[in-house]
């Protein structure tokens, strides 16, 4: 296991409908994301626990793109990863943020 921490600037997220949301499942090729309110309104902090070591720069690129294209400021995201691909991570992040803002669809 490897733990990675990121601090990303992002536009402030819209008001939350839920205090926190959990999205996804921890299983091979998948991941679990827990999103809750963060401390700074223009910052998204992310902690990644991943089974696949050595992909720090890929995580940085995926999370940078997420923070740039979504208003995710003021959130803290915890990720438990079991080898999910960047496509799955990006999709799950978008779904989790949406659930946090609008409530479960």
């Amino acid at each position: 296991m490897e733990t990675l921490n990121f601090r990303l600037e992002s536009a402030p997220a819209e008001r939350a409908a839920s205090a926190s949301v959990l999205c996804g499942v921890v299983g091979s090729g998948n991941l679990e994301i827990l999103l809750r309110q963060g401390d700074e309104p223009k910052v998204c902090t992310v902690e990644v626990k991943t089974a696949a070591r050595g992909f720090g720069d890929t995580w940085q690129a995926v999370l940078d793109a997420f923070a740039a294209t979504h208003a995710a400021g003021g959130t803290h995201i915890a990720i438990n990863d079991m080898g999910a691909t960047p496509a799955v991570v990006s999709l799950r992040l978008a779904q989790t943020l949406s659930d946090y803002q609008r409530g479960r669809r």
Partner: protein, 551 residues
């Protein structure tokens, strides 16, 4: 001019066949050979150096004859030149390891790819060439005609007529090439019957039949469990349906094998219907009877399907849907790989499939280091045939995108659909294909490229669709590919301004450009989410193999 003094013999092939048949007769072997005498038969009719065709594709296998040939005495039978569609069984490779065969011309080697690569490195096998199916079948009638062919049939009668069953596959083309050029045809059959349901091969094309101790093996290669389809695959399927199928009005098509296209099949009854596409897309297919197509058939999307082979468990469903599938007067399916490949090449407007690697020119390959796998039929489907002359709306639209409004020809759509990373974070998009290293290892003339980049019209990934028809330079093509290559190293090395410019021109389209919210990509959109759902859709007619049943 004087006539030649001695007239040459013009019937040496026939004499050779008679000589071989006489040797078999001298051992008391008639048209029906007992399984226990098969090695005597093979050693009587096969001569050293013969070109032998062993039937086996990625589905039906003449496995009893293959194992029996491998058990023959290499002092009697040696230096064979094997010509065969697929090298799939351990016994296929045993022929070379045991010194019976020396040279191989083939199309695909799937599960034996690693053993084959080792034999090539040890120089214990000479590979003539790796073909596509149609090329190999073509050469059976030109310069690779078999002296002896070993084929698989469902049943024979006492006269030697053959019934091939739903998995007709390659048998007609192999038997025709052999029987009409002085060769010997030997068929293993699952059963001997008094009266065949239908005659697929007439008795006077067949020299020997042998009832195998157990039915020939058939691999359920085209069955995909809907439970394993991911949300990313659903997202890509939504983009493909809306951004390609609907826009070009694709009615005649072929799908490759895999979960990406299975997702499309399962979205037709739900997402496709919601977009109002029933009757407008996906009506006519060159396709094996994929179980994942059942919901689309039951929903009225599909008018016709012609198949290369059958699929395990689908026979009763096919027989009950004879308006859709090609079936005999007896009710059972008749497939034919050569004809369906021809249909896929010339009669379809689109091929969509997947690959393991793609380079920045769009060349794609399923070759990986240490394995020689070949192509099968993908290059026949996945190419723009320059011999096509008939027009269709999809073909014309694509041709005009590529060549302008006055283009003199259309274009087939050749779509590659891939998630940018495979399992274990292996990037699909790469600067250099492994195929180049494999070329050097094999000592081959060319790298084993499955689909040439200049044939590819569209690339679909989770990041969007790249339309290569609209690219006007090699540099634009490269950036269009990088622009959908996601977070792979080559995707991150994109020229961002150029990619944004391509997006403005509609060369690259993201999900949101197509009016698709990625968050809607849910497995709930799949018409069936399990194999059991497929059985339910079929009204209980689909009988999945045990390995796909968990109830």
């Amino acid at each position: 001019m004087n006539a030649p003094q001695t007239s040459p013999a013009w019937d040496q092939l026939r004499q050779g066949r008679n000589r071989r048949l006489a040797r078999a007769a001298s051992q008391g072997l008639g048209r029906q050979v007992p399984a226990g005498k098969i090695i005597s038969l093979l050693e009587a009719v096969i001569e050293p150096g013969d070109r032998v065709c062993l039937e086996g594709n990625n589905q039906k296998q003449a496995d009893f004859l293959s194992e029996s040939l491998a058990d023959c005495n290499p002092e009697v039978i040696h230096d064979l030149h094997m010509v065969q569609s697929v090298l799939a069984l351990p016994s296929h490779v045993d022929l070379f390891e045991r010194g019976l065969a020396r040279k191989l011309d083939f199309s695909f080697s799937g599960p034996q790819g690693a053993r084959l690569a080792r034999l090539v490195q040890e120089q214990r096998i000479e590979i003539g060439a790796i073909h596509t199916y149609l090329e190999l079948f073509g050469r059976y009638f030109v310069d690779l005609t078999p002296k002896v062919c070993l084929v698989a049939a469902q049943a024979a009668d006492a006269a030697g007529n053959l019934y091939l069953g739903p998995n007709t596959e390659d048998t007609p083309v192999i038997v025709e090439a052999t029987a009409f050029k002085g060769g010997i045809v030997i068929a293993q059959v699952n059963e001997m019957v008094d009266k065949l349901p239908r005659v697929d091969v007439p008795a006077d094309w067949v020299n020997f039949t042998v009832q195998a101790p157990k039915p020939n093996y058939i691999e359920p290669l085209f069955t995909r469990d809907p439970a394993q389809i991911t949300e990313v695959q659903v997202l890509m399927a939504m983009m493909a349906i809306k951004g390609i199928y609907a826009e070009y009005g694709i009615t005649r098509l072929n799908h490759g094998i895999g979960f990406d296209t299975a997702a499309i099949e399962l979205l037709l009854p739900t997402y496709g219907t919601a977009l109002g596409l029933k009757g407008k897309i996906c009506t006519h297919w060159a396709l094996n009877p994929h179980p994942t197509l059942i919901p689309a058939i039951e929903s009225g999307f599909v008018e016709s399907v012609h198949s290369f082979g059958s699929e395990v468990g689908m026979d009763a469903y096919i027989a009950a849907r004879s308006d859709v599938f090609f079936t005999g007067a007896d009710g059972s399916m008749r497939s034919n790989r050569a004809f369906s490949q021809t249909a896929g090449l010339y009669a379809c407007d689109m091929f969509i499939g997947s690959t393991l690697q793609m380079d920045m020119a769009g060349n794609s390959s399923t070759a990986t280091l240490g394995r020689i796998t070949g192509f099968g039929g993908a290059p026949n489907m996945g190419s723009d045939p320059h011999g096509r002359r008939h027009a269709s709306p999809a073909w014309l639209k694509a041709g005009r995108e590529a060549g302008g409004p006055n283009a003199v020809r259309g274009r087939k759509l050749v779509v590659q659909m891939v998630e940018t990373f495979r399992e274990h974070m292996a990037p699909v998009f790469v600067e250099d294909l492994d195929a180049w290293k494999l070329k050097d290892m094999m000592g081959a003339e060319l790298p084993p490229i499955m689909i040439y980049g200049d044939d590819v019209s569209h690339i679909v990934t989770e990041e969007g669709i790249a339309n290569l028809l609209l690219c006007r330079s090699a540099e634009e093509r490269e950036q269009a590919i990088r622009g959908v290559a996601g977070f792979t190293p080559v995707g991150r090395a994109r020229d961002r301004r150029m990619v944004e410019n391509l997006r403005d021109r509609g060369v690259i389209r993201r999900a949101e450009d197509l009016g698709i919210d990625p968050r809607d990509a849910s497995r709930d959109l799949l018409a069936a989410r399990s194999v059991k759902d497929l059985v339910r859709w079929s009204g209980g007619l689909y009988a999945p193999p045990a390995r796909f049943r968990n109830w």
